[in-house]
């Protein structure tokens, strides 16, 4: 039976679609937006086919495609998904559709704007689906190019500083990963990620490789103290750029940790888990306070993202401490599952918050909290959605934000009381900065004439907000399908990382 190369379609359809969008721009400018939307929707539908055909009972790679790419170095064009990558691919394609709808009103070279996002989307799916390390690296780096242009062309006043900083930070991080990958290739003769998982490595080599990977992924996540590019990039990026950055691109860092760092260098990860946990706790608590002090809405959400991504990295690295404490393997997966759920949830919530800020910014052209006040009086429907999203951000039960954080804190208790204590602080802090922002922007008296003249959501914005609200509530109320999707893969991962790879090397 002929099988459609679904993953390849998910990667290449948006990229070729982007080329088509640019190609028709001069001849048929009216068709640019509908075509981009059609491509994004089609890609999303294809990813649903992927979901429908996915077997949740196995940790093996599914929908695999493999052909030789660079024969001389044994490099393959090798794609496949498991329970760790599938949810992220679905998130990517969904956000892809929302971005195109959200970018409908862009006036400056709309074809390039939409095409950049489509290319970015295709490359991101490639990152999540790549099973060859060099292929992964190529997708990982190539993504910088469209994002560089998006921030640089359509961004705010300080966009050039922000976009060059973004590019160089990420580029700097990832070159160390390249060296680690080349070293692994010279040891094993293969770039296949699954082969590298099985490769025995001595402990001191593992530690160096682990640190190289950590630099690459920590910049991407971003973890404290290499997070400084993120607030700049977020503030200057156009709304769509901020959404993609927060909802999808940060997840690549977390994904890299579970796909590379943990399984390839499990002993180094176990030996240095205190480092990642420490940095995560700093991010959660310290950055939470930083967020509290912001007067710019986008900056506040950016810092909140860093703090919430701290939960992800915390969850991912709790497994070792749990198994040391309890000697129990089954409970050790809780943190990893929590981290993965938190990534998906943060994708929806941060994307939704940036869209909400975008809605206000389009009308008032200010991101300052002090420019607003009493927005709920003039935009009641919008206020309803926005309050929901900010509540979700603070981890309100019933929303997706609660699920991941709860699982991670629960896992942290198994590891150490103090981890859980520090992580728990964020629930307070998150509620503080989220709700304080809501109070200052949405409630109270109408602050000025600009706010008094606001019109409520357009049909397009309604659509965006509704879709995101459905997912935020859906995952919050019934997270089972999401957890079921990743269960087998997480169990397999935990079993793998708790076995030493040092012996035999």
């Amino acid at each position: 039976m002929f099988e459609w190369p679904l993953l390849s379609l998910l990667v290449w359809l948006p990229i070729f679609g982007a080329a088509a969008v640019v190609a028709i721009a001069s001849g048929m400018p009216k068709l640019v937006r509908p075509l981009a939307l059609a491509v994004a929707v089609l890609t999303f539908l294809l990813s649903l086919v992927l979901y429908a055909g996915f077997d949740v009972s196995t940790a093996a790679m599914q929908f695999e495609e493999r052909s030789v790419w660079i024969e001389a170095f044994n490099i393959h064009y090798h794609l496949g998904v498991d329970g760790l990558s599938l949810p992220l691919i679905l998130l990517t394609t969904l956000i892809g559709v929302l971005i195109i709808i959200g970018g409908w009103t862009i006036q400056d070279r709309p074809h390039l704007y939409l095409a950049s996002f489509l290319v970015l989307q295709g490359l991101t799916v490639g990152v999540f689906a790549a099973l060859d390390a060099l292929l992964f690296y190529v997708f990982f780096e190539a993504m910088l190019v469209p994002m560089f242009l998006i921030i640089g062309i359509w961004g705010g006043p300080n966009r050039i500083y922000a976009t060059i900083k973004f590019f160089l930070f990420t580029f700097f991080g990832s070159v160390f990963m390249l060296i680690a990958l080349l070293w692994l290739y010279l040891q094993s003769g293969s770039f296949a990620i699954l082969d590298l998982h099985q490769l025995p490595i001595a402990l001191n080599a593992q530690i160096l490789i682990f640190l190289a990977f950590l630099i690459a992924f920590a910049v991407k996540v971003p973890m404290w103290p290499v997070h400084t590019w993120l607030p700049d990039a977020h503030v200057e990026a156009p709304t769509g750029g901020s959404v993609v950055l927060a909802a999808v691109m940060l997840k690549i860092g977390g994904y890299g940790l579970v796909r590379f760092s943990l399984p390839i260098t499990p002993d180094a990860a176990a030996a240095l888990d205190w480092l990642v946990i420490g940095l995560s706790l700093v991010a959660i608590a310290y950055i939470g306070f930083v967020a509290l002090a912001q007067s710019d809405m986008k900056k506040l959400i950016a810092y909140s993202s860093i703090s919430h991504m701290g939960f992800v990295t915390l969850g991912l690295f709790l497994a070792f401490a749990i198994s040391r404490n309890t000697g129990d393997v089954t409970g050790a997966g809780l943190g990893i599952t929590g981290g993965m759920v938190q990534m998906i949830s943060h994708g929806f919530i941060s994307g939704a918050m940036f869209l909400a800020v975008g809605v206000l910014y389009d009308r008032v052209h200010s991101r300052e909290i002090s420019s607003y006040g009493g927005v709920a009086n003039t935009m009641p429907w919008f206020a309803m959605f926005a309050v929901l999203f900010f509540m979700a951000n603070s981890g309100l039960p019933g929303t997706s934000g609660f699920v991941g954080e709860f699982m991670v804190i629960l896992a942290a208790f198994h590891a150490s009381f103090w981890f859980a204590f520090v992580a728990g602080i964020t629930l307070l802090l998150g509620a503080a900065y989220s709700l304080w922002l809501v109070k200052r922007v949405f409630y109270g008296e109408i602050a000025n004439n600009a706010v008094a003249g606001l019109k409520d959501l357009s049909a397009r914005e309604w659509l965006l907000m509704t879709i995101l609200a459905v997912f935020v509530l859906g995952v919050g109320i019934w997270p089972f399908p999401l957890i079921e999707m990743m269960e087998a893969s997480v169990a397999n991962l935990v079993e793998h990382i708790l076995q030493s790879k040092v012996e035999g090397s």
Binding site: I70, L149, R159, I164, L168, V175
Partner: protein, 478 residues
């Protein structure tokens, strides 16, 4: 000398004849029909490429001729084919520029073809004498080319500098060769190599000779600290000539290094490896940091050349077939990228002045989106960002240098690649994020635009499908 031997040198004989025919024919071609000379030169190159492709030797086969002073192997054949093709592209780019600058003369073609002949002889040299002959033919033709614009003060100054420093380098190289001859008793590279493996020669004399030879090679490549001529020559020469200097002679530089250091002096690998490590590290550091400070794009690309030569040296210093293949890939990739970048400078220039300031790139994306896109691909390729060609060149040399045990050098190289990314990004920034200062569009002949498009798209296509070119380079060192 037999007919069979002459047949081995058929491409060289053809290029020599073509150069002479063009030299004569050009005398009879009227000024306004100079395009004919151009067509003749381009078609000669295409024919030479077909000839070399048909005669190409299978992997692993090496044939000597003319009392073992001339060698034909797959490495040489591949390099020659790329030299023709890149020179043909250079001719198309240069025509547009020379015509506007009033320099569109037959001499350009004759001198370039003689330079090409020098490159070919150098590539096929198996004796130090042939090597030197090829090098000098290339160098003398290039000195004259740099001074092509007699009216230009900068051009004359650059030519003078180039000539003096180049002669010094040639002298050093020659002196080194004579010392090696004294130590091993032969000028044939194969015999030198055999003598070294046999343990012959005074080690003091050999080391002395080696130092001078390496300095000579470093001068020709423009590696730090023998790089001083590069920025001035790149800056002073007419842009069409800079375009030439930055492309084909780089392939010759690679051939010079590999013929001398690998074919001849592989027995001294331990000695020259250390020297190349220093040269490569310094080139990477100085080239990239100095490029940041430039406001003139020709100078910026000159310093970027220095850093790229540092990368290429990484492959050579590994001293393994994989390393040489990586260096070869790098040289070919660099020649293509560099040709494309200078072509865009030509495109932006008008009759009055060359667009050699960074600010000339402002708002190119508005003036000509397609050409800005091509230039962006070339720049990202130069910066080594996947999925463009330059990335595949970079990771191969880095892999080679890690395999050779110099992980610290690999770390330095990637850090310098990050520094390098900054000044390439700055040009992208000027093109895409800034508003244009002049509104008018860009005019260029059809052939120019077609070749530039092919050149730019090759950055992406050769990156996506780099497997073929990688295998080709590896097959040269079986």
């Amino acid at each position: 000398m037999t007919i069979a031997e002459l047949e081995l040198a058929l491409p060289e004989i053809f290029v020599l004849s073509a150069a002479c025919v063009i030299l004569l024919a050009d005398l009879f071609i009227a000024e306004q029909r100079r395009g004919l000379t151009h067509m003749l030169a381009v078609f000669s190159l295409i024919f030479a490429a077909i000839l070399s492709l048909r005669l190409m030797l299978p992997p692993g086969e090496t044939v000597y001729a003319f009392s073992d002073t001339f060698v034909r192997d797959r490495f040489g054949d591949i390099l020659k084919v790329f030299s023709y093709l890149i020179l043909a592209a250079v001719f198309v780019y240069a025509k547009h520029s020379l015509r506007r600058a009033g320099l569109f003369k037959g001499e350009f073609y004759t001198l370039s073809l003689f330079a090409l002949l020098g490159v070919m002889v150098l590539i096929s040299a198996s004796s130090m004498i042939t090597l030197y002959l090829g090098l000098e033919l290339l160098a003398l033709s290039t000195y004259a080319l740099v001074a092509l614009d007699r009216e230009s003060r900068f051009g004359s100054e650059a030519a003078m500098k180039y000539f003096i420093l180049g002669s010094l380098a040639s002298g050093l190289l020659l002196y080194g060769m004579s010392l090696l001859y004294g130590a091993t008793g032969s000028l044939q590279l194969a015999e030198v190599s055999a003598a070294l493996t046999g343990g012959a020669g005074d080690s003091m004399l050999l080391t002395f000779g080696l130092v001078f030879v390496v300095i000579g090679v470093a001068f020709k490549l423009g590696a730090v600290p023998f790089h001083m001529w590069v920025p001035d020559v790149y800056h002073g020469a007419p842009v069409a000539i800079t375009l030439f200097i930055s492309s084909v002679p780089k392939l010759a530089g690679l051939a010079l290094a590999i013929r001398l250091l690998d074919n001849g002096l592989s027995g001294l690998h331990g000695d020259w490896q250390g020297m190349l490590v220093v040269l490569a590290a310094l080139s990477l550091i100085l080239g990239n940091f100095a490029a940041i400070a430039q406001t003139n794009i020709k100078r910026m690309l000159a310093y970027s050349t220095i850093s790229h030569m540092g990368f290429m040296l990484l492959g050579i210093l590994a001293g393994t077939p994989e390393g040489y293949a990586a260096a070869m890939f790098y040289a070919i990739a660099y020649a293509l990228m560099s040709a494309g970048a200078f072509a865009v400078i030509i495109l932006l220039s008008d009759g009055e002045r060359e667009a050699d300031q960074l600010d000339d790139f402002k708002g190119l994306a508005r003036r000509s989106p397609w050409h800005a896109f091509l230039m962006m691909m070339i720049l990202f390729s130069l910066a080594g960002v996947p999925v463009f060609l330059g990335f595949f060149a970079k990771w191969q040399v880095i892999a080679a240098v890690i395999a050779a045990g110099f992980t610290w050098l690999a770390v330095l190289a990637v850090l310098m690649a990050v520094v390098g990314a900054f000044y390439y990004l700055r040009v992208v920034k000027l093109m895409y994020f800034d508003e244009p200062e002049v509104e008018h569009g860009l005019v260029a002949p059809v052939d120019f635009r077609a070749v530039l498009t092919a050149n730019g798209v090759a950055m992406l296509a050769l990156g996506l499908f780099s497997g073929g070119l990688i295998s080709l380079c590896i097959s040269a060192f079986v």
